[in-house]
Symmetry: C2
């Protein structure tokens, strides 16, 4: 915290941290009015529709992601941002080719599966082996080296459906570790029950390991749909041995082109003080990335546009929209951003992000200095018309923004209702029709209201 | 009608056709008791679970369908039927190989699609063309010969979601005719919006033409998912030309092995008078055929078993369960059955079938002689505890049984609620988890209650 004590002391009511409404009422009224107007704009939906229609899937490092950057530069420029720039960086590119799986014994049946990003390739001939089923990554880790020789390991852990996404981080361990653990065990391949909650027959992809985080090689690894995991489970209950064949071919390029798209509305009185709102432009290759993260792109762009319209003279501080590249494959764009702007990170007043679908925002989590907690409390009260309740400390601001949070940037997480987010996450079913417009609008309202306060000079979160 | 006038005249209340309850109350009580007991048995679910787990998809004419027949013979024998026989016949076999589609201009995007049964093959090189979108089969038919040269025709008609399946027959025209109409227009390929109502990204397969029903050749034809049809529509709204590439390879064998599995409980006093209940054993190749028609197999087998248990001495008449082969590819098993049993069709007192998923039965449609309408009315009243309301005349008994109905066999259609049936129909998503056990149980109760009346000597439907 730097200025806020003195600045707000002048407002006389700020000295008591327990006051629920330390923000001046006219700030609150103005923030809400801006939010209400923003929520009526329909810009967010148009943005998502345009991105998912014109570009479709946009895997990091591909020509499609480059088209998404071109799209973003064109759209953001049309919307009237003061500057729109691309900050390029390199990213490893893993691309799937043939992916096929089937049960071959006791009787032949196809499997619905999808390779995990970073998987080894089986080659065209594929691999075949008896299933060794374990219930969790912990159980897998407990097995002795070489104890699954010639087999196909199957980690059959169910992900918990929650509102706040708590089930995901637990489930991700299974996705990350199975391939390398299976290698340690001598397996010829590995399957996981998809990291996801879909009740329909979709397999969920996702990154299985991040370059540089592990020295262990990995076996060819795929995720099966929930229905296929159930089917394998039933067959294993009924038969001594269930044999599976996997053909998973892929290609790996160590360095392809990616980039972040950065758009600014210049601050009028404090141009060097920056509020960042982020989302990511890349998506997995299966769906059109409407929820992950088209919705986030729509929300931050629409909220920024609302501020532009509400403040034709410009806000006090600079508002910077960062559309990150290469989030899905390991926050590569976020890391590139942090590195490039290392010297200026201290100027970031607040950063937050939309990357959890299009559900209603219901809680305001925070990762700010203790001195800023009354401000957070007051902003949360300001957001009560949108149903937002007080949140928890320790927020990291979202996947990409977490990189900034680690570098000491104050962050908030306007937490969305993610009850059905993982039904669609990383599947072909992540398409435009899954967006609820009224929820997208609610998000835009909340973002715009928060911005209208955070962009004022004298308001600090550290 | 033969015996019923005299037989029921003896019961004194039958002469007035408008009486709502001409069945003796003890028959009604007994039928309901048998139905209640049957609905508690859990056999139907076990049967579907076993079939879909042990066999999985079972396309007509394949080794998998042969395994399904073996499974049926083994299961029905275990359940204690008096006889279980396989009646073999031949069926043409169309098998899909590679199926891939993508938008290539204005920007590359993958399409979720599936070939239609009977489609021509594109060869490995595939075909490419600009989309020519029409709104209906009628609009397609109105185009002049050769007017889509080098293009890919896209019939973008939405299927209506209904409870009684009314939307399906209209939609099926699109699936049947598009391939041959596109050929007439000079197109290189064709797409249809899937015949189905799924809100998830599944393409629905199905037979596009039946051998012998048309002399026109067909172009390579596939169905796209609803989301992909929407995407094509949006792109066509935004761009002058949208170009698509299709790779659809397949193989055609004019004669493969199929068969019907026929199981009987012999009648005690009238063994030559037969009541048939049917379902089909084959399924499309994408899902495990849990709803289409595993559920039907489960219902008819469980209802028959309930009758067996309720009448250890045997029913008056013979109960024959027919598990048809090769329904999906053109009612080939039903036609083979009718031909083989041509001489005995007159002995079939009543035939009905379960082939519309596992939704609750809510209406009793009928295709019986006018003289039997009071009996139908009375049976419908008997079924009121299960929520069944009076139905309509002109029923054909279901797809397979319609062949018998055409030959003059009296039929009924215990109509199920098909509101969500076409969400799953002919997709990979037709799997065991989609069954609602309580609805399956309701079906078994209704079937058993109907059987307990229809198997009595003296009750006639013609």
């Amino acid at each position: 915290m730097r200025l806020h004590r003195s600045a707000l002391a002048a407002l006389t009511f700020w000295t008591c941290a327990s006051v629920a409404e330390p923000l001046p009422q006219d700030w609150v009224d103005q923030a809400r009015a801006i939010g209400y107007e923003a929520a009526n704009s329909n810009i967010a939906y148009s943005v998502v529709e345009s991105l998912t229609t014109e570009v479709g899937p946009r895997l990091a490092g591909t020509e499609a992601e480059a088209r998404a950057r071109d799209w973003a530069v064109s759209e953001l420029t049309k919307l009237g941002f003061d500057s729109v720039t691309v900050e390029p960086f390199e990213v490893p590119l893993w691309e799937r080719h043939i992916e096929r799986g089937r049960i071959v014994a006791p009787g032949e049946q196809p499997l619905v599966l999808v390779g995990l990003g970073g998987s080894a390739s089986t080659g065209d001939a594929g691999v075949k082996g008896a299933i060794l089923r374990v219930e969790s990554p912990e159980a897998l880790q407990a097995l002795a080296d070489g104890s699954a020789k010639g087999k196909i390991v199957f980690v059959d852990q169910v992900m918990a459906r929650t509102q706040d996404g708590a089930g995901y981080s637990a489930a991700v361990r299974k996705r990350r570790e199975t391939g390398e653990q299976a290698y340690r065990l001598g397996a010829v391949g590995a399957l996981i029950r998809s990291v996801g909650t879909s009740g329909h027959r979709f397999a969920h992809t996702g990154q299985m390991k991040r370059a540089g985080t592990s020295d262990l090689p990995v076996v060819p690894t795929a995720a099966v749909s929930g229905a296929d995991a159930d089917q394998l489970g039933r067959l294993l209950d009924r038969h001594d041995s269930v044999e599976v064949e996997l053909v998973l071919t892929s290609e790996y390029l160590p360095a392809a082109q990616s980039g972040n798209v950065v758009a600014e509305i210049k601050g009028r009185t404090r141009p060097d003080e920056v509020v960042i709102i982020g989302a990511h432009l890349d998506s997995w290759d299966l769906g059109t990335g409407a929820l992950d993260d088209g919705a986030g792109v729509g929300v931050v762009v629409a909220a920024a546009k609302a501020l532009m319209d509400a403040m034709p003279e410009g806000p006090d501080r600079t508002l910077r929209v960062v559309l990150f590249g290469a989030e899905e494959v390991g926050l590569v764009g976020a890391k590139a951003y942090a590195q490039k702007h290392q010297a200026d990170l201290d100027n970031i007043v607040l950063a937050f992000e939309s990357d959890f679908g299009a559900g209603d925002i219901w809680r305001l989590d925070h990762g700010v200095a203790d001195d800023a907690l009354p401000l957070i409390k007051s902003m949360t009260a300001m957001l009560s018309p949108w149903g937002v309740i007080p949140g928890k400390p320790g927020a990291t601001g979202g996947p990409d923004i977490s990189v900034l949070a680690q570098a000491g940037v104050p962050v908030i997480t306007p937490l969305q209702n993610g009850w059905d987010y993982f039904d669609y996450h990383h599947t072909p079913d992540d398409t435009l029709d899954k967006l609820e417009r009224h929820s997208l609008d609610q998000n835009v309202g909340v973002y715009a209201a928060i911005l209208s306060v955070a962009l004022r000079e004298g308001v600090y979160f550290k």
